[in-house]
């Protein structure tokens, strides 16, 4: 490929190739402080023209790589950074077999990990990012990497993708940490935020799961928290995992151990301040 970049994020190394310079330049800037990726890459991502002439005329970025989805729609070149991020997510979702993947935000304090999971729009990404600025270490906002052998969670501190209204919550961060504003993407307006420095410095440090939270956001929801039964937690987490089935018995063992050993609560909230308060309160109650 004309342009290439190697990235290591937590335990996973990517090789990203692109037909255009711009997406990789943006990616390189966003991930500038990350340690160099040497050795073989776990996954290859390719950003290539959807058709040969689409490299120059109305450039259109198709996401490809070791693993691809046949019906993935190409993105305009202006959203090349998003294409690269989606390409990395795709490789993880379809190809990662070392860890059980949980679609979750993960933060850590005192070596103990808090897992925030739930459907899209529940606020796990925003909450994980905010907690990362308030005394927690940000471990990831997309995937929790659960090691079936050790039961530990590994950090995967990718650039945080802020969506729509949550962009305003990070207005005061160092502009150096922000990517370009991407308008009109399939998920609305998106802007990428580089995780805090301590998240990057400690991205080789795993943590033991200590609490699972299922946040639910709604303008009219009263702030509250309640327990969730183990069977319910198990089923919800199988749905939150992209590779639970393909891991077979290892996946079942990993998830059973996680659910058996980790308390879980659901929290409802109508504002981020409420949510942060509920998280702190629930965390403290677990001791």
């Amino acid at each position: 490929m004309r342009h290439r970049l190697a990235l290591r994020i937590g335990p996973v190394a990517f090789r990203i190739g692109s037909a255009w310079a711009a997406p990789l330049a943006e990616l390189a800037r966003l991930y500038a402080p990350y340690p160099a990726a040497d050795g073989a890459a776990d996954f290859t991502v390719r950003l290539e023209p959807a058709a040969p002439w689409r490299r120059i005329i109305r450039p259109s970025v198709a996401i490809a790589g070791d693993y691809t989805l046949p019906d993935a729609a190409p993105l305009p070149l202006a959203q090349g950074l998003l294409a690269a991020e989606m390409g990395m997510n795709l490789q993880m979702a379809l190809g990662q077999k070392r860890f059980l993947l949980l679609h979750a935000g993960v933060v850590e304090r005192d070596g103990k990990a808090l897992i925030l999971t739930g459907p899209s729009g529940a606020g796990k990404s925003t909450l994980a990012a905010l907690l990362g600025t308030r005394g927690w270490r940000f471990m990831g906002d997309e995937f929790g990497l659960l090691d079936p052998e050790s039961g530990l969670l590994h950090p995967f501190p990718r650039a945080i993708s802020l969506k729509n209204a949550s962009l305003a919550l990070f207005d005061d961060v160092d502009p150096e940490r922000l990517g370009p504003v991407l308008r009109g993407t399939p998920k609305g307006t998106i802007r990428h935020l580089r995780p805090p420095a301590d998240a990057i410095a400690r991205m080789a440090h795993s943590a033991r799961p200590a609490l699972i939270l299922f946040p639910r956001f709604g303008r009219d929801l009263p702030a509250t928290q309640r327990p969730v039964g183990a069977a319910e937690v198990f089923v919800r987490l199988t749905q939150a995992s992209t590779n639970y089935v393909s891991l077979g018995e290892r996946g079942f063992g990993a998830l059973t151990a996680l659910v058996g050993g980790t308390p879980a609560r659901a929290i409802d909230y109508s504002s981020t301040e409420e949510a942060i308060g509920l998280v702190e309160q629930t965390w403290a109650a677990q001791g």
Binding site: M1, D42, R46, D66
Partner: protein
Amino acid sequence: MRDARLLTRILADPSQASTVRDWTALLCVARAEAVAGTLAFRLDGVPVPANVGAMLADIRRDAAQARTQAVWEAEMARRALAATGVPIVLLKGTAYATADLTPAPGRSIGDLDILVPRAALADVEEALLAAGWEWVKENAYDDLYYRRWMHELPPLIHRERDRMIDVHHTILPLTARRTPDAQAMIDDSVALPNGLRVLAPEDMVLHAVAHLFADGDLAGGLRNLWDIDRLLRAFAVAPDWWCRLEARARRHDLLAPTRRALRLSARFYETPLDAGLAGRSATDRLYARRLLARDGWGRPRRRGTRFGFYVRSHWLRMPPMMLARHLLEKARR
């Protein structure tokens, strides 16, 4: 990497792993050619860089899990079809895995492929639909095309397990120029302990040959050729193997493709062969060019060569007028 030559070299001789400089490219090509699992098993115990070793271990574990799943899927089909009394012959990856044959370690297995007598097709179809399989192709043209001209039913998918089954009733499309005798292959097939069947050794090689050279456009060809290499190495120890293979190849109208498979397998994987049977041909180079057409980023290369083989695959499948109508229908979508 300009083409997939390094991949075939390491598969043939894993001790050359110490010469690999770009492991990322090698693994990427291996994934694109669907032989990553095979490569990982070939390199088991060979010294490689530490992080490569960890990746290969992941791939091996994943392949073992996929194999369990494939064998289970065959068992599900066996149960679904038990009452029909129809002989069920497993083909390709699932056959190798279930019968524990030499191509099995790490081999990728996509769909479940089975061969049944053509006369039993209606019973098989009915039993599968009753057991939870559903049609994949919604398009009426595709459905009719399969039913009228192809060597298999339109693909079915199981609604709970999300796994595809291809029910073959012959070896090549009904319109194809070559005409292997599927019923003879079924008659000569071998029963496994669980009642499922696999093809006899010669037919197993011939079936792999038919799918590599007489049917498709050589996509996945390096993997199919690897199957042929492994099968030949295992079967050729039997007395008279090459004579029997030649006789069966003649009988199934597959002598020329078989000879080509022997030559290319030896070219890439150093397969021991019978020189008299293998013969020689100047066009092997073109086939080799097509089979290796993959760069270090996993991208298909050599567009012209690929297109040529794509056209050839259709040419082999159907007479010219029918081909014209078929391509027109496809182009209209």
